[in-house]
Symmetry: C2
Subunit: 191 residues, 2 copies
Amino acid sequence: MEFSELLKKRRTIRRFKQVQVFDKDIRYILEAARVVSCGGNVQKIHYIVARDKQLVKDIFDNTTWAGLVSPDRNPEWGKNAPLTFIILTAPEDSGSVMQANAGAAVQSMEYAAEDVGLGACWIGAFKKDNVEKLLGLPEQEETLYIMAIGYPDEEPVQEDIDSGESMKYYLDGDDVLHVPKFKTEAIADWR
Amino acid sequence: MEFSELLKKRRTIRRFKQVQVFDKDIRYILEAARVVSCGGNVQKIHYIVARDKQLVKDIFDNTTWAGLVSPDRNPEWGKNAPLTFIILTAPEDSGSVMQANAGAAVQSMEYAAEDVGLGACWIGAFKKDNVEKLLGLPEQEETLYIMAIGYPDEEPVQEDIDSGESMKYYLDGDDVLHVPKFKTEAIADWR
């Protein structure tokens, strides 16, 4: 899809169809992850692609979703994403630059997911120790983020807001998620 | 451009044509910045768009580029980017999540820039205090990153590498920058 079209839709999805993601699409998402910018080009970030149903469920049970519309968008099992990416690094690299690198990778992966009809949720709230134990990670590995990915079973709507307006996302009476985003005029100062 | 096409070319550029960037393209890059994922949707990141030649020069003088091929890709003034974005946040928000949010925004901006024929360099090495003074920032504002943007005057080449190979970028005899990136097999573990 044209990149300009990808920008027009909300990509963050928290309800998913129970349909498996194709391997070729997983590889495309990894392709989008590997080619991002990276401070010093060090590329210390790597990924676990979890598809095994029990592993996905065990990780899912350690995640928390969308605090402002809880519990409605903390999906019940059965509306979960069938695919989970775990984003990892070595602990000595988990400083601020590594966080920025991870953010860049996640954003690129989200676009790639959207490009093949998938939705994703970038999850920072999870029980790290439990997830690391579940994955049997060696000590030199650390989880940074989780991404849940699957075919969307909801259509969130973006609201464009002015400076000073509330950015709190909310569910309307039809259970549609509204996500306020500041207009460009509200985020930029031209000099 | 198709997103899949955007993934194929190196976007990080450090030599630029001395041609101004259109306002509509600046707004498109800001559009790509504002719609990214953001923890809790808090959107604390904002931007200064610097186009004034003296301001761009003063900021440029406080930046350091591409350590591994220094000084060849620390562009001399005259090969500089005519446009500089400064990525800012409030200090109380500059923790790890804010860094991740900034990384997501920068990556999205890079794709938007590439989509309209521009190149960009994401700069983390700059004299923060000097730049903040130059911009006359109030105390509650903090610079996170700088992005230099303009029409590319170089064509870096990506090299696909296996696990264990060197990720150090280098210049060849023809002054072309080569950027090694790990293949997907080297960064992912499927379970």
